[in-house]
């Protein structure tokens, strides 16, 4: 790890004043230190934001809930209000990584973490996503990569809380010296394109992610998140699903289904959700939705198995959200 100046800030204004000249913001540090240890980034300055009190706390408001950027994954997973009314988020945070990481990793950091493609994370590969010429995953090892939007960089969205927040139609609060703006999570992440292959979010270099706002769920809302992986803990998902259902009696009035490890950004499965609306949630409708979510998939040389796995993850998570199936014992986390 390179030497750096540690700029310890105790206010948002102070942190914003330090975010110049290639400085990197550090919250829990799990993702930033990992990339520094791998030599992928070598920042001259780390802006430490963990001592900013205003970025902490889970606050219930008239319109929903406000989560400070420094709320840890453990706090999200253990919070009674989130477990009962925003289950998809508590599930996603509470099953991410390991207990030790959940105790340190923050919501803001989880949303801002970079992709985990092994070519991206290695300083030995000058890849497209890091601003160079080529993607090594296409002709290389791509078993954990995307099955949608694979045309530029097929690394997958790494954040499980982003999947949940997308399903809940939450927004992130971005703060700069010019003020604050709210961006829906559904518009926060950018699919890599040929012109801007390194951009992952719409956040500007002078902006700090300060909070997440989730609208109050409508009456009858139920939700769930499940992930599937090679290991039962620590690992990132190879297929995961966040599901939010608005139920009226037995009938589904509104649905959001989001996949994480399918695409470079969390993918809202619009066609799949549409199949549930106006119908009771049954094994049959849930299976049909899972299959519909795979329309247009373009798997790579080593990951066609994901086209089989995602429908299972989706249909089991729909049934879990609807209260018609227990948590899958073979799910990870």
């Amino acid at each position: 790890m390179n030497k750096f100046i540690f700029s310890d800030c105790t206010s948002v204004d102070a942190a914003l004043s330090q975010m110049t000249g290639g400085a990197v913001v550090k919250a829990g540090g799990v993702d930033v230190l990992d990339r520094m240890k791998n030599g992928v980034i070598e920042p001259a300055k780390l802006v430490n934001i963990t001592n900013i009190p205003s970025l902490r706390g889970i606050h219930e408001t008239d319109t929903g809930v406000r989560l400070g950027a420094l709320v840890t994954l453990a706090e999200l997973g253990d919070h009674p209000l989130l477990q009962s009314q925003y289950t998809v988020l508590a599930d996603a945070a509470g099953h991410a990584a390991t207990p030790q990481i959940r105790n340190a990793a923050t919501l803001g950091g989880n949303l801002m973490q970079k992709v985990h493609c092994w070519y991206y994370r290695s300083s030995d590969f000058a890849c497209l996503r890091k601003g160079h010429d080529m993607c090594f995953a296409y002709d290389g090892l791509n078993q954990y990569h995307a099955i949608f939007d694979t045309n530029v960089c097929p690394s997958v969205a790494p954040s499980s809380t982003a999947v949940a927040l997308n399903a809940l139609n939450a927004s992130v609060e971005l703060t700069s010296t010019k003020g604050k703006r709210l961006v829906p999570v559904r518009e926060f992440y950018i699919k890599p394109d040929d012109k801007h292959p390194t951009m992952e979010t719409v956040i500007a270099p002078d902006e700090l992610l300060t909070a997440v706002l989730i609208p109050k769920p409508a009456a009858g809302t139920r939700s769930a998140y499940q992930k599937y992986g090679e290991k039962s803990s620590y690992d990132w998902a190879i297929a995961d699903a966040g599901v939010v259902l608005e139920m009226q009696g037995d009938v589904c009035r509104k649905a959001a289904i989001v996949m994480g490890a399918a695409s470079p950004t969390p993918r809202l499965a619009v066609e799949a959700a549409a199949l549930l609306v106006g119908k009771p949630i049954t094994e049959e409708t849930a299976r049909a939705a899972g299959l519909a979510a795979m329309q247009g998939a373009t798997p790579l040389s080593m990951n066609a198995y994901k086209v089989q796995l995602f429908p299972v993850a989706i249909y089991r998570t729909i049934l879990l959200a609807a209260g018609k199936m227990d948590r899958d014992p073979s799910a990870a986390g």
Partner: protein, 233 residues
């Protein structure tokens, strides 16, 4: 950055069980010898004190903003409260807590295995909450109390969890054991009567390549005075 010669000598086994070094059967342990040959841990604070006098004022500036403290990139004095004792170490901001403990304070009971937060071999507690010391900068610990494997035994008496680990032979190579003990002791602190599922969740981040998990579960449940469940694995 696992140290060399990790499978030899009394020093390693005593560090693994948390028994203070030098109390093992041999008076000269491998680690004791290495320490004696180099800078001793006991003199670290003294050296830091001397270096402090020579520290350049530029190492810490506020730039007129009371809400910013700039530290480094060179060594700066950092106070760490480890197992109830305050130590001042002179470290660069890039020093992880694991490195500060092992290299600067000579407390080698905490193991660094993957150095990326993937195995939890380096687990310590901060205000009783288990974290990866390899993914924590020492400079950001602040006033939080650090708990390490060296502080688990009290007054020369093994912690009930350590006794149970010995009884159940809950280790094979032993490299994950300090992290396992830290995870399980933190669990018992917040939940004195855990279920098997609670124990499994508590060590779900602790990677044991020898696969000694069933014995860790049995040892932890016994230390808690909880009857083992029918199927422990």
């Amino acid at each position: 950055m696992a140290d060399n010669g990790q499978f030899t000598g009394d020093g390693e086994s005593s560090a693994t069980t948390g028994v203070p070094e030098g109390t093992a059967k041999s008076n000269i342990s491998r680690r004791g010898f290495l320490r004696g040959a180099g800078i001793t841990a006991a003199s670290t604070a003294l050296i830091d004190g001397v270096q402090l006098l020579h520290r350049e004022a530029a190492a810490e500036t506020t730039k007129g903003n009371a809400h910013v403290r700039e530290l480094g990139p060179g060594p700066v004095p950092v106070t760490l409260n480890v197992n109830g004792t305050e130590h001042v170490v002179q470290i660069e901001p890039r020093t992880t807590l694991a490195d500060a403990l092992r290299t600067h304070l000579g407390m080698t009971g905490t193991k660094v295995v993957c150095d990326h937060g993937a195995c939890s071999g380096c687990t310590v507690t901060l205000d009783k909450v288990p974290v990866n010391s390899c993914m924590t900068l020492a400079i950001e610990v602040g006033s939080r109390r650090i708990g390490t494997i060296e502080g688990i035994a009290q007054n020369g008496q093994l912690h009930p969890l350590q006794v149970a680990f010995v009884k159940h032979d809950a280790m094979q190579c032993g490299f994950c054991t300090p992290g396992m003990v830290m995870s399980c002791s933190a669990l018992l602190e917040r939940n004195p009567k855990p279920t098997l599922a609670d124990v499994k969740k508590a060590v779900s981040g602790n990677l044991c390549r020898c696969a000694t998990y069933p014995k860790v579960f049995a040892a932890t449940l016994e230390a808690a005075g909880v009857a083992p469940e029918k199927s422990i694995s």
